[in-house]
Amino acid sequence: MSILINKSTRLIVQGVTGHDGLFHTQQMVNYGTNLVAGVTPGKGGEWVLEGKVPVFDSVKMAVEATGANTSVIFVPARFAADAIFEAADAGLPLIVCITEGIPVQDMMRIRSYLDQKGVRLVGPNCPGMITPGESKVGIIPGNISIPGKVGLISRSGTLTYEVLYALKLVGIGVSTCVGIGGDPINGTSFIDCLNMFEEDAKTEKVVMIGEIGGTDEEKAAEFIADHMSKPVVGFIAGQSAPPGKRMGHAGAIVEGSSGLAVDKINALQAAGVRVASHPEEIPSLL
C-alpha cells in the first residue's frame, strides 16, 4: 500500500518548462511516475520530453484534459502561492510544493484556504515524496530506496536521502517517504503522516527525522504515545547548533520551549521512540 502517492497518482507539474521543473519531470518520468501533463502559463500547446508530456496554460485545462489528481510545483517563491491556490481551485486534492522561500504570511493564508477546501498540501520547501517502485513526486533520487514496510517522514532534504540510502544498504525498504519540508508553517505535519502510516496496512514501522525549531516533534511524541501501535524510530538534527539569538519576547511566550534538539529527543524518548545518535544508526534500531 503506501500513503498519499502510488501507481494511481496522475501527476501534473506546475512550472514544467523551467530549469528545475523540466529536469525533474524527466527524472520522474524515468522513474515510472504516471506524469500526465505540465503547466506553464503562456506555453499551452507545446510538448516537453520529445512529445511525451503535453504543456497547458492552466491547471484547470490540464486537469480537464488529463484527469490529473496531484500536482507538484516547481514555481519560484514569488509565484508559488498563486500556483498553490490555482491547483486547489482546479479541484486537485493533493499538492506537493518543492519551492523554497515562500513568505510565511503567504503560507498562513494558503493553509487557511486549503483547510477550508479539504485540500492537502505537502511542503513547501521539501523534496517531495516517493513510494518506491510506484511513484515519485518531487526531487528525491529514484535509486537510493527500495520498496518495503517502513514509513519515513522528514523535515529535511538531503538528510532524508542519507536515511533512505542507509536503509537500502541493509536491505530495508520503504512504503512511502514523505518530505514535509523545513518551513515553520507548512501543509502536512509529522502527526498527519504518523496517522496515515498507522492506518496503512503495508507500513509496519515508522522513522521520523526532525530538527531544531518549533514544537512539531514534541506534538508528534504526544500523538505517538496516545495513538501509535507501530514502532517509531527517530533522529533529530541540530544537537550541536548554537541556540538562536532571539529578539523580542513574543516567540518565547508563544512557543514556551525554545525548539532545542535535546527537548525533542527527550519528548520522543518519553513516548517510547528509539532515537538514533546519528542517521547511520537508524537501521539497527528498527
Binding site: G101, G157, I185, E211, H278
Partner: protein
C-alpha cells in the same frame, strides 16, 4: 531580519501608533543637539539588535543636554553582548504610570498570527508568561480576515484597560497589525506600551523582525539591514547564496542541505571534534558557489581540516569537485580535506579530487572520525 528600535518606531508611527518624540544620533554631539531640541528629560537608548540593553547599562536617563551628551558618550563606546553600539535613540522621557505588553507573532502550531497583550508589561514579561500565563491575553488572527475590531476590544477588556483608552488602544492594535501584515513581519512588539501620567498611551519601545523570505517584496525595508550582527564571512556568504554561520572549532564543514549540515556538525561533536562553521551550499550548487564556500572556510585561520559531505541529488558531485579544485588553485593551502561524496556523479567527483591531500570516506561516521583525527593531530 531584525530592525532596530528606532526603525521599528518609525514604521509604527506611519501606522498611527503613538511614539515618543525623538531621533537617532550617531555621535554624542548629535545626541546633545537632539536633547536641546526636545527640551526636558530625555532617555538615551543604545540601538543594538539584542535584548537586555537596559540591564547592560545601555539605556539611561538624562536630565539635561549636557548629561545627554555624557550618557551618549558612555553608551556609544559600549559593546552589548558582543555588538558595538553605533547609534543611540534620544527620546523624550515619558512619565510612566502603567506598563502594558502588546505584541504580534506567528503561532506556528495554530498556523496563524497571534496578538498578545498583558497588563504586566515590561522587562519581566517572559517570567509572567511562564508563571502566570493567564495574565497574557491572546487573540489569534485569521490570515484571510486580518485583525477584527472586536478582537482589539476583547483584548482591551482582557487586560483591564480603562474604557477611556479603548478607542486609542484599538487604533494602536490595528496599526500594529497593519504594520505586521504590510511589512511581512514575523514579530512586532511594543513592550512597554505605557499609560503616561498625562493619561496618554505611548509606545515607549518597539521591535520588529521581518520575514527573510519576504524581503524580495520590500526592497526599501531590506536596505535597513544592520550588517554589524553578522561576521564579515557571513555577509560574504550571503552574497553567494550560501548559508554560513561561523563557529569556534577547527573542523571546517561544507555540506549540501541544512539538515545534513547540522547532522554533520552533530557527528563531528559526537566523535570529539569541534566544527568551525555551519555551511549549507544548497541544492544544485555549481563550481562558482563551491569555490566561494571553500575560500570563506579557508579564510578562518583556525581551520585544520575541511570535511566535505555531499549527497548529490540535483547537486552533481563532479560540479562540486570542480569548484573545490578551482578554489584550491586560488587559495594555496595545506589544509587537508576529508571528502565524502554519495549520489549523482560521485565516482567522477572522487576521480576529479584524487590527490595526496584528500582523504576519502564512505560513510558519515567514517568521514567524521577521519576529520576529527586530522584536527587533533
Amino acid at each position: 531580519m531584525k530592525l532596530h528600535e528606532y526603525q521599528s518606531k518609525q514604521l509604527f508611527a506611519k501606522y498611527g501608533i503613538p511614539v515618543p518624540k525623538g531621533r537617532v544620533a550617531a555621535t554624542a554631539t548629535e545626541a546633545k543637539q537632539i536633547a536641546e531640541e526636545l527640551g526636558g528629560r530625555v532617555v538615551i537608548k543604545s540601538q543594538v539588535l539584542v535584548g537586555g540593553r537596559g540591564k547592560a547599562g545601555g539605556i539611561r536617563l538624562a536630565k539635561n543636554p549636557s548629561e545627554a551628551e555624557e550618557m551618549a558618550t558612555l553608551i556609544l563606546g559600549m559593546e552589548i553582548k558582543g555588538l558595538p553600539v553605533r547609534k543611540v535613540l534620544v527620546d523624550e522621557a515619558a512619565q510612566i504610570e502603567k506598563e502594558i505588553y502588546l505584541g504580534i507573532t506567528n503561532d506556528r502550531a495554530a498556523r496563524k498570527p497571534v496578538m498578545m497583550a498583558s497588563s504586566a508589561g515590561g522587562v519581566e514579561i517572559e517570567e509572567v508568561a511562564r508563571l502566570t500565563p493567564e495574565k497574557i491575553i491572546k487573540a489569534h488572527i485569521f490570515p484571510l480576515l486580518g485583525l477584527r475590531d472586536y478582537q482589539a476590544r476583547d483584548i482591551a477588556a482582557g487586560i483591564d484597560l480603562p474604557r477611556e483608552h479603548w478607542r486609542i488602544f484599538g487604533q494602536i492594535a490595528r496599526g500594529l497589525w497593519q504594520a505586521y501584515a504590510d511589512c511581512d513581519a514575523t514579530l512586532a512588539e511594543v513592550n512597554p506600551l505605557v499609560i503616561t501620567s498625562g493619561n496618554q498611551l505611548l509606545a515607549v519601545d518597539g521591535k520588529m523582525v521581518l520575514d527573510d523570505n519576504a524581503l524580495f517584496l520590500h526592497t526599501d525595508l531590506a536596505e535597513m539591514r544592520d550588517l554589524d550582527v553578522e561576521a564579515p564571512s557571513e555577509i560574504e556568504a550571503r552574497k553567494f547564496g550560501l548559508s554560513f554561520i561561523k563557529l569556534d572549532g577547527n573542523i571546517g564543514c561544507m555540506v549540501n542541505g541544512a539538515g545534513l549540515a547540522m547532522t554533520t556538525m552533530d557527528i563531528i561533536k559526537l566523535f570529539g571534534g569541534e566544527p568551525a562553521n555551519f555551511l549549507d551550499i544548497g541544492g544544485g550548487a555549481g563550481a562558482d558557489k563551491v569555490s566561494a564556500a571553500m575560500r570563506i572556510i579557508l579564510a578562518d585561520p583556525n581551520v585544520k581540516t575541511i570535511l566535505l559531505n555531499v549527497f548529490g541529488g540535483i547537486t552533481r558531485c563532479d560540479e562540486v569537485a570542480r569548484g573545490i579544485l578551482s578554489a584550491l588553485s586560488e587559495v594555496k593551502t595545506k589544509v587537508p580535506m576529508v571528502i565524502r561524496l554519495v549520489g549523482t556523479n560521485a565516482e567522477e567527483g572522487r576521480r576529479i579530487l584524487a590527490n595526496a591531500n584528500m582523504v576519502t570516506a564512505e560513510t558519515l561516521v567514517d568521514a567524521a572520525q577521519k576529520a576529527v583525527a586530522i584536527a587533533k593531530a
